[in-house]
Symmetry: C2
């Protein structure tokens, strides 16, 4: 299941010379442009400017960017011995960690590489160099995310309503939590791809997702690419969509989920959750295990990135906001756990009470592919 879809690949690692290939999402849907980034600054810039975005994809891109630095050609690459390698790691990781603050997958991926490197310093084992060790770990992160997406997709038959009559099942999503946002077929869109592969007649609704329009540009692009019908509206029309009975369920992704189940996700998610509750519609949040953050107790502790005013002000030729007015441009909002019907995870559908289930998932979640040392 889910194997029938061929989702686009948002981020890849290419060897000889080592570089990170990303699909430049700022050029979509007009142009399918790939960038091959061979410098740390290039990778950091791509994350900061949302050329690559989506919490899981950011983690993978950062992991590959870091591994790339330790696989650079001889003479330019980072040191490969003892404590120096750990110090060098921190410099590189610091650049990547500073790009975006909200998605927990970014520091999670860097932390996983750090712990792998620490183990290597203690015991180099079979003599592989740090570059190889780090690249293997980054590839493992990517592989596991792809598998996690597939597992999330398999939740579809527990959440999709049996279609009444011949009409399509109306799925409302927000922003882009699809293949473009992950290492696989997406989080929120994984059940959509899986249901489509099983022949379910569905129709996806998505708001533009201002200001950067990831819904209208990216979700619409990647779904229609495989023949799934998509209708785009302005973000503020989601209430009217629900009032007209066009939505059967809501599925969104997440950038970070606190230990109590509060969800940080793209600005506007909270409004969708309140409206879904008003209309008696289920509101699902789909995520890999790495997006649960046991260290954050509630949504109040999640840092919310505020982005530049320029994203709203228009161009000098076509001002969208006068200079005299202020702009508030938060990238995310917090949806309280009580508005979430269930989490769609690689471990299956998680229903309330969330606290114990989230604790179980994060405890059993063996970060490094090579073992369960995460919570040693």
């Amino acid at each position: 299941m889910g194997g029938d879809v061929d989702p686009i690949s948002a981020v890849e690692f290419l060897p000889d010379p080592p570089r990170v290939r990303i699909l430049d999402q700022t050029a979509l849907p007009g142009e399918e442009r790939y960038l091959e980034l061979d410098s740390l600054d290039g990778v950091a810039e791509a994350i900061r400017t949302l050329r690559v975005r989506g919490a899981p994809a950011i983690g993978i891109a950062a992991a590959y960017g870091l591994a790339m630095q330790f696989n650079a050609p001889p003479g330019t690459k980072e040191p490969s011995q003892g404590p120096e390698v750990l110090a060098a790691f921190e410099v590189v990781a610091g650049v990547l960690a500073a790009t975006r603050p909200t998605a927990v997958n970014l520091p999670w991926a860097l932390d996983r590489l750090r712990r792998r490197l620490e183990r290597w310093v203690e015991d180099p084992g079979d003599g592989r160099d740090p570059g190889t060790v780090l690249l293997d770990e980054a590839r493992a992160i990517h592989h596991e995310d792809r598998e996690a997406c597939g597992a999330i997709g398999r939740c579809w038959d527990q959440i999709f309503p049996v279609p009444a009559g011949s009409g399509p099942v109306g799925v409302l999503t927000h922003c882009n939590a699809g293949a473009l946002a992950t290492g696989g077929m997406g989080t929120a869109l994984a059940p959509v791809y899986a249901a489509h592969a099983q022949g379910v007649n569905l129709r996806v609704h998505v708001g533009e997702t201002r200001p950067l329009q990831q819904g209208g540009r990216l979700t619409a692009w990647e779904l229609t690419r495989v023949g799934i019908p998509v209708a785009v509206t302005v973000d503020s029309a989601v209430g009217a969509l629900m009032a007209r009975g066009r939505v059967n369920l809501v599925i969104v992704g997440a950038d970070r989920v606190a230990a109590n189940g509060d969800v940080a996700n793209k600005i506007g998610t909270y409004s969708l959750a309140v409206l879904a509750r008003e209309h008696g519609l289920p509101f699902y949040v789909a995520l890999p295990s790495s997006t649960f953050d046991p260290a954050t107790r509630t949504g109040l502790e999640i840092p919310v990135e505020e982005r530049s005013e320029t994203e709203l002000r228009g161009t000098p030729g076509q001002r969208a906001v006068p200079e005299s007015a202020g702009v508030w441009n938060p990238a995310f909002d917090i949806t309280p756990a009580h508005l979430v019907t269930a989490f769609l995870t690689p471990s299956g559908v998680v229903r309330p009470p969330f606290g114990p289930s989230i604790q179980a998932i994060t405890r059993s979640f063996a970060g490094p592919a090579s073992g369960s040392e995460r919570h040693e």
Copy 2:
């Protein structure tokens, strides 16, 4: 009260030769460009393309456009005798009525001019020609709307909370229901102007109001022009604004209010109402009497304009939605009466139950300035 503000004038009638002067709102906030329209097609185009917009302003512009046609230079102007003048009226009114379907003020204004002309045909009275009679009636519509705005503004001290501490009162509005949308100081913004004139420390929040950005472009422009602080967000951030405690009350305008109190207003209004209820915030709808439509029983009967997909699709150079995806672009949504805390009207603050109060307002509302023949 309210006399201290000098709001911008969205629409005026200029004689010799007769023409309708409008502030082209599609050029704001970048440019304050006035258009002098001397043809029926010009006025109709200006309404259709939202160069002049806002339910009351549309009614005034249509009334002036119609009167202009009957005041054109000799040889080109409409007939001035008997039944021919009524037939000519219908042709002109038909062009204007077809421009936009949702705002009730447009057919209301045309109907008022029609009834005035019918009385003139029955009894020409002092011998004034139809052009003069129609222009006087159009001016009366404009004058009464200006007065209505002032009266709505006087509701402010019944709805503004006493500021707690030294922080500003946070007012959330949507789209533009200000001076630019009316013949006076606005509907939703009238209490804002009035409170500001009384020295109330306030801060107005407004969403961009996609797709045509009347909030970010117009409300921000007209309020900051007189020194009222405005913060613009993406439309989907209003929930986060409320969750952060930045909003004390919500005030919006209306394009049509049904006999039961259901409200048609700019797309997104319904979401604001649901979110206001979730946060325990008052949700006010401000409108002149002409926006109540006693002939429409509930919101289900209100026609909702669906505008062109092109408003969302971006430009060929910068696609915002791929060709492969559909677009749904409703201009309005319906907010059920039970979510409305009160209507702010020229007759004062109207609280539930709304039905009898709305009936009383529309019964006592003497449409034509010259008398109470409306419901003869």
